[in-house]
């Protein structure tokens, strides 16, 4: 096997330098070919899409050995316009381990989405436009992570924005599709303008656009203008990663785009924003070591994480909920990236790739549910486990991953993030990091809670009679293959984190810190030393961060066995006891008739045991009748228009949540209603407001940057 690899690399030789541009151009050429022949034949179109998406993936895979393992950097000057003297006149592609890491994420996701789309999109019209736009989007994403030129990043971001808007609005008949696209267009153009302004300001000071050269000359040219440029660039890329003030957009876009595009948006486009933030903080400006930048970025991550996870709690649309969780997880990534330590960056990168896997899986299952039933409303769905058992299993794998349950990948990366924040807190003794850890843990718990809610309201519980039809069945196998691939990767990454860390994370994180190597490869040996950039100390990763998955697995198995054993042995007593407890609660709550929504589900079961409890409590039959009557009144209230139950919000007005009934966490939400009402005011769904937040974010970042840099 290794011989085969050696033969391959010997055969390729230095032509391996052409691989990145081949990967980018293949996607774009595919888009053109689809635009020409896509209308003619469906099979031909699918074959072309399959080929042009698998080729970049294979090319990226073949780059792993020279870049990740041997530690090389590919530099490639377009048109052979190599640097003259110290000035880089052409556009260069610059593929180091960090770029390749994100390139692998992009190509893998694109390949999986392409397979998924073949069946998922077959009910839509004008599919040649869909595939053209999709391939252009993927080409732009790949070009963004592989390029080494600042203005080229802007061009790729613009292609990305344009195609993303068009794809979001692709199902024009779908409610809200146009609206989501319009909002993203407006706020996205705000972000693009700031990126452009930042580029212009950097160019006015440094007279170049090449990333390596900017990195070489920035430390000696620090002034107010470069600080402002940093602020503009940062907020521009943050808007592409949908960080804190931009988070409502992601929900709007993801709720209405086709599910395949949702996976690309939440799985890859946000990652490209993260990539650009890592690039400018670690390599371009090298200011992540400064406490001001580090603390601000970490806090930004923590705030995004917390706000989005609480927002997700209220959602009644499956995909909006997933979208908010997506930003919450990106908040984790940014939090870890902002630490500025080697281990923190590794943790962030690991969580980034894991997020692509499990969030992609969840979005694809949501798409499958929508494909089968035609609805993504959590209040309408229910009991689908009988109809779609495989999708349910896949969803459970994804939910376990995202909530950080042990044998899956989410646990591994979250563990690393906690560990790195602990380390940073103990190193610096800064109180902020302690708060961040607490927020982290809280968010993880809330994530688990809301996924329990989703599982309960989509796959378990009562089957909605509307969906009890033969048409509602398991999705076709072509849609299942990509989901199983993702699920398998979730488990693999969770069980072998040390392998991933050794071959992928450590090279990528080292590349982000190894600025001198980056500059020297592009502009010739010694450039960095001449510019006065020292080799930064690359910290060693302490082994405490690496957990032992096998022992955790054993522990989990033992616990599971114990639970099962107890459940089997004491099932009868247990059940009776539980329902009795439930009934007891109800009786004790009799005075202030306040019944939890979850309890209502158990009414039928509780009725049987109610008499028993009542006799325990020495209640007369009359009082029992009162209880039952109260309950019926309450049922009517719940079904009716009691403003008390309209505290919470989500989605469209027509789908306003009648909280109660199926919501597991109604009591918790009711206690938190002031906070949620406050959030309701600010997440108004008005594009003007979202623009205002964007402008405010720009202003805050500018002021902070000029004060502290």
């Amino acid at each position: 096997m290794t011989q085969l690899f050696d033969q391959f690399y010997n055969f390729v030789g230095t032509d391996i330098n052409h691989f990145p541009i081949f990967a980018i151009v293949t996607l774009f050429l595919g888009a053109f070919i689809i635009a020409i022949v896509g209308k003619l034949n469906k099979t031909l179109r699918n074959v072309i899409v399959f080929i042009v998406t698998i080729i970049p993936f294979l090319l990226m895979l073949s780059l792993i050995k020279p870049i990740m393992i041997d530690g090389g950097v590919i530099n490639y000057w377009m048109g052979n316009w190599a640097p003259v003297g110290e000035w880089a006149i052409g556009i260069g592609l610059e593929v180091d381990a960090l770029s390749l890491f994100f390139g692998l994420i992009v190509t893998l996701a694109v390949f999986i989405v392409a397979i998924y789309s073949f069946t998922y999109m077959n009910r839509d019209s004008s599919l040649e436009n869909y595939y053209t736009l999709f391939l252009m989007l993927s080409g732009a994403l790949l070009g963004l992570v592989l390029t080494g030129d600042l203005f080229n990043i802007f061009v790729m971001i613009e292609i990305m924005t344009m195609t993303e808007v068009a794809l979001t609005a692709f199902r024009v008949d779908y409610d809200g599709a146009l609206e989501g696209a319009m909002k993203y267009m407006v706020v996205g153009s705000l972000g693009s303008s700031t990126v452009l302004v930042g580029i212009a300001m950097l160019y006015s000071q440094l007279h170049t656009l090449n990333l390596a050269q900017i990195a070489a000359s920035l430390p000696s040219h620090q002034n107010a203008v470069t600080a402002a440029a940093f602020a503009f660039l940062f907020i521009g890329f943050a808007s592409k990663a949908f960080l804190f003030p931009f988070h409502p957009l992601e929900a709007d876009v993801n709720a209405v785009a086709p599910a395949s595009i949702s996976m690309i948006i939440s799985g890859v486009i946000t990652k490209c924003g993260v990539y650009a933030i890592i690039r400018i903080c670690y390599i371009l400006f090298q200011n992540i070591e400064l406490p001001a930048v580090s603390i601000s970025v970490t806090l930004l991550g923590a705030v995004s994480c917390f706000i989005c996870v609480t927002m997700a709690f209220n959602q009644h649309n499956f995909r909006r909920l997933l979208a908010y969780h997506s930003i919450s997880q990106i908040g984790y990534v940014i939090m870890a990236v902002g630490l500025g330590s080697m281990f923190g960056l590794e943790a962030g990168l690991f969580h980034a790739v894991n997020h692509t896997l499990f969030k992609g899986l969840l979005f694809l299952t949501a798409g499958a549910v929508q494909y089968a039933t035609g609805s993504a409303d959590l209040d309408k769905l229910g009991g689908l486990v009988k109809k779609m058992p495989q999708t349910c299993a896949l969803f459970l794998i994804g939910a376990a991953s995202i909530s950080g349950l042990p044998p899956f990948n989410g646990f591994a990366s979250k563990w690393m993030i906690y560990q790195s924040v602990f380390e940073k807190a103990s190193e610096t003794g800064n109180f902020v990091y302690v708060i961040v850890v607490v927020v982290c843990l809280l968010c993880s718990v809330l994530t688990l809670a809301s996924f329990i809610k989703v599982a309960q309201s989509v796959f378990f519980g009562q089957l909605n009679p509307e969906f009890n039809k033969p048409e509602v069945h398991e999705v076709p196998v072509v849609m299942q293959i990509p989901m199983w691939i993702l699920a398998g990767l979730c488990v693999l990454f969770g069980v072998f984190p040390n392998f991933i860390q050794k071959y992928f994370l450590t090279p990528a994180a080292t590349a982000a810190f190894n600025v001198t190597n980056y500059i020297d490869t592009m502009l010739g040996q010694g450039t960095a030393a001449k510019a006065g950039i020292q080799q930064t100390e690359i910290g060693t990763v302490s082994s405490i961060g690496c957990w032992q998955p096998v022992s955790w697995l054993w522990l989990l198995l033992i616990i599971t066995c114990a639970v099962c054993l107890i459940a089997v042995l004491g099932s009868n007593d247990n059940k009776k006891h539980a329902t009795a407890l439930n009934a007891e609660e109800k009786v004790s709550d009799l005075v202030g008739v306040k019944q939890s929504g979850a309890g209502r589900l158990n009414n039928v079961a509780a009725d049987a045991s109610l008499k028993g409890v009542a006799s325990d409590h020495l209640l007369s039959d009359q009082e029992l009748i009162i209880i039952s009557r109260d309950r019926t009144i309450e049922d009517e209230v719940l079904a009716g228009e009691d403003p008390k139950y309209e505290n919470f919000f989500s989605g469209e007005k027509s789908e306003f949540s009648q909280v109660g009934g199926s919501d597991l966490f109604w009591g918790f939400k009711h206690d938190m209603r002031h906070y949620f009402n406050f959030q309701k005011d600010w997440h108004s769904g008005n594009v003007n407001d979202y623009t205002t937040y964007g402008v405010a974010a720009i202003a805050v970042t500018l002021v902070l940057a000029i004060l502290f840099l």
């Binding site: 050429l29 490639y76 377009m78 003297g85 080229n152 061009v155 024009v172 007279h207 402002a228 500018l702």
Partner: protein, 306 residues
Amino acid sequence: MNSKSSKNLILIISLIAILACGVSAAIKMANSAPTYDGTGTDVVGLYDDPSTYDNSGADGVASVMVNENNDKTAADNVVYSVVFNYRGYDTLGESFILIGAIAGTMAILRRDKRRGSRKIVYYRKPADNSKASGAVGMEAVGDNDLSTNQYKRKPVIVRCSVSFLMPLAIVYGWYIVIHGAMSPGGGFQGGVLAAGTVLLVYLAYGLTGVRKAFNPSLLHVTETLSEMTYVFVGLLGIFGAMNFCFNFVLSGSEETAMIMNDAVGYHVMAGICCLLIIMLEALGTDEVLPDNGSDNITEKRKAVAQ
């Protein structure tokens, strides 16, 4: 304080902060050195003898580009060689954006068949296509008096002058495209000017004329083909054992950038024609305004204008 007024306050404070930071950065930028201080460069000498240049005193990428321009490219216009030679890859991306915008506009403005068949009713069916009617003047939009907004035949003077101007517009556009190497212009600017023919046809002959004269799907296909030509010219560099976008034909005034320029020129012309036709089709897919509808139009317009 309610959320609306606090939002306005936030907006005003942020805008003031952005302006203040911008002005302070602007003062700093105005006082710093220019990005390319060309006072030491002898441009006449460079033009007469391209090979004598000295890059040692370069103060930016632009300096190197100007010095090497006449030696390593065949264009006299430095902006042209920056666009098509030094930064040819960016130009490729720029054309992708145009294709993306066209595909996106087509996807957004498409009418599915199940939403009812498209009905185009003309006020007066043209007896002869060469004297097609159905034109709606552009100026009618700004015109308050909508009684003039009837589908009536355009005056003959418009049609005659358009027939006279149309070849001129195409020739002028392509003149700018082809002379981009030595005078201001290039693929993009000329392409946009040449695309004005669609509007001329629309002005004189209406949507019927546009449909007769142009085939949008053919335009779309050929523009994509011209973009593929660009990519293939770039790829030829790789097969010549060089890098992507390599300028492998360079003798006298000939270079690969000329092919790229023409490809971009055609691409932009066809693309913008396509874009305009898609938008005009969206305009024309509806029924003709009913005659009695003109009463409430002024009210409606007041509502539209904020």
